[in-house]
Amino acid sequence: MNEKYVARSKTIASRIVGGETAIMSAVDSTLFVLNEVATEIWLAADGETPLSDIVKRRICEEFEVSADEAYSDAEEFVDALAHHGILQTAAYPIPETGESASVTP
């Protein structure tokens, strides 16, 4: 399996509201609402941690799902967000990211 790194885009508007993450796409001003599991991936997308590690530590352990199934879903999810400019994905670590961390009120 080729490793995949994910990072939150810098110009994204986002807030955590009641455990879910509300994100406004900078590309087309579309609103996305991430559920609790997707929020875990979003918060961990620092550009340095491989997606496989995020899935293992933040998803499998928290939500008791198998690694293969969770990784497949997570990859589909990050590719979809990358398509809307919300996440960046790369085969190598992505430097200087994480400035747009969500805040929980």
Binding site: T11, I12, A13, S14, R15, I16, V17, G18, E20, A22, M24, A26, S29, L31, F32, V33, E99, S100, A101, S102, V103, T104, P105
Partner: protein, 364 residues
């Protein structure tokens, strides 16, 4: 329920101020004759104060931040404020007259992440628009600024405030919006000045002209649906709120005063004296606003329009009672549907006498 409605509902339930409108100055290069603010600087918040406020708003959960004025671009630190807001992950919407937008400024706004700009355009004719703004050449300059914003891919909305003198030009502004790739929004309500001065209300267009606007499918879409009789009033309607003002949205003046909304000047605290979060959580005024359900409204709770009315609690407040009717909205409901509102009947007892209601089983 749409994603946005769902998000608003969640914010309201959790008491999160999802949207904040911050006027960074009341100074302006135009002198619009219907404007609700003066054009002076009575001690605006400094750059550092605004940066501190934005950090507080981020912590409180604000996502949608509207920066307005006055003319916000008159602040030399306007771009710095936007840049800082962007770094705190707000979704920034800018309200400007666009007169000062040049190519570099438009590109900078784009680079700073501004995706939505709203510009007030009163007419497609210079003599009418400039007559309202009292700034010669303002229509030409605003349109030039809008074109530059559009060329940067920034979404622009033309806000068309209707008043005596320009109400016949709404079709022209609507067409203009289409030509320059902008959205169009209609606002037929002139509001009193924040100081309480009601002299500008004489600019409100009369019901006959409002009727023409509400019958124009270019402006309201499906006229039959827009002008349909109000839905029946049920328990859900009676338990509902008028709007998000004070619930999941609020307004902050250039001097740090917090109001439930820009149209609802009820002082709830000042961020120079208290933290925003303290005001939001503990202000007795905000608690009172939040406590009001439709069933608590003195006149409107018995009105057949209750389920479909756009009643503004701020306009009602400025008429003397935040639980009372807003006469501008009573008129709009009447003009839309032809059905007299309870607020109108209360002002004209002769109308109320046309209907006699008695409990079943009682004898007159």
């Amino acid at each position: 329920m749409s994603l946005m409605e769902n998000l608003n509902h969640k914010a309201l339930t959790l008491g999160i101020p999802l949207s904040v409108h911050l006027d960074v100055t009341y100074r302006c290069n135009e002198r619009c004759k219907h404007c609700y603010v003066d054009h002076e600087d009575h001690g605006e918040m400094t750059t550092e104060e605004i940066r501190g406020l934005l950090r507080q708003l981020q912590m409180a959960g604000v996502l949608f931040l509207t920066l307005s004025g006055g003319e916000p671009l008159l602040r030399s630190d306007c771009l710095e404020i936007i840049e800082y807001a962007n770094s705190l992950s707000f979704y920034v919407k800018l309200k400007t007259n666009a007169v000062l937008i040049n190519k570099q400024y438009a590109a900078r706004l784009r680079a700073l992440g501004v995706r939505q700009v709203q510009v007030s355009i009163y007419s497609h004719r210079s003599e009418i628009h400039d007559g309202i703004t009292k700034l010669p050449g303002s229509l030409e300059r605003s349109l030039a600024g809008i074109v530059l914003l559009r060329s940067e891919g920034i979404h622009v909305t033309l806000a068309n405030v209707l008043m005596t003198g320009n109400s016949q030009d709404s079709d022209g502004v609507h067409e203009l919006a289409g030509q320059i790739g902008a959205e169009y929004t209609l606002d037929p309500t002139i509001t009193p000045m924040l100081s309480g001065d009601t002299s500008v209300l004489k600019l409100r267009i009369p019901g006959t002209e409002l009727r023409e606007v509400f019958q124009n499918k270019n402006l309201v879409g499906d006229v039959q649906q827009f002008c349909a009789p109000p839905p029946p009033v049920d328990e859900d309607v009676l338990d509902g709120y008028s709007c998000s003002a004070g619930h999941s949205a609020c307004y902050i003046t250039p001097y740090g005063d917090v109001f439930p909304c820009v149209q609802f000047p009820l002082p709830c605290g000042n961020v120079r004296v208290q933290s925003f979060q303290e005001i939001w959580k503990s202000s007795p005024q905000l608690k009172e606003v939040r406590s009001i359900r439709a069933r608590d409204l003195s006149t409107c709770s018995s009105c057949s329009h209750l389920g479909g009315c756009t009643r503004c609690p701020g306009l009602a407040f400025m008429e003397g009672d935040m639980r009372g009717p807003s006469s501008a909205d009573c008129e709009k409901s009447f003009v839309r549907t032809g059905i007299v509102s309870a607020g109108m009947m209360a002002k004209q007892p002769a109308l109320a006498n046309l209907v006699q209601i008695a409990p079943i089983g009682s004898r007159a």
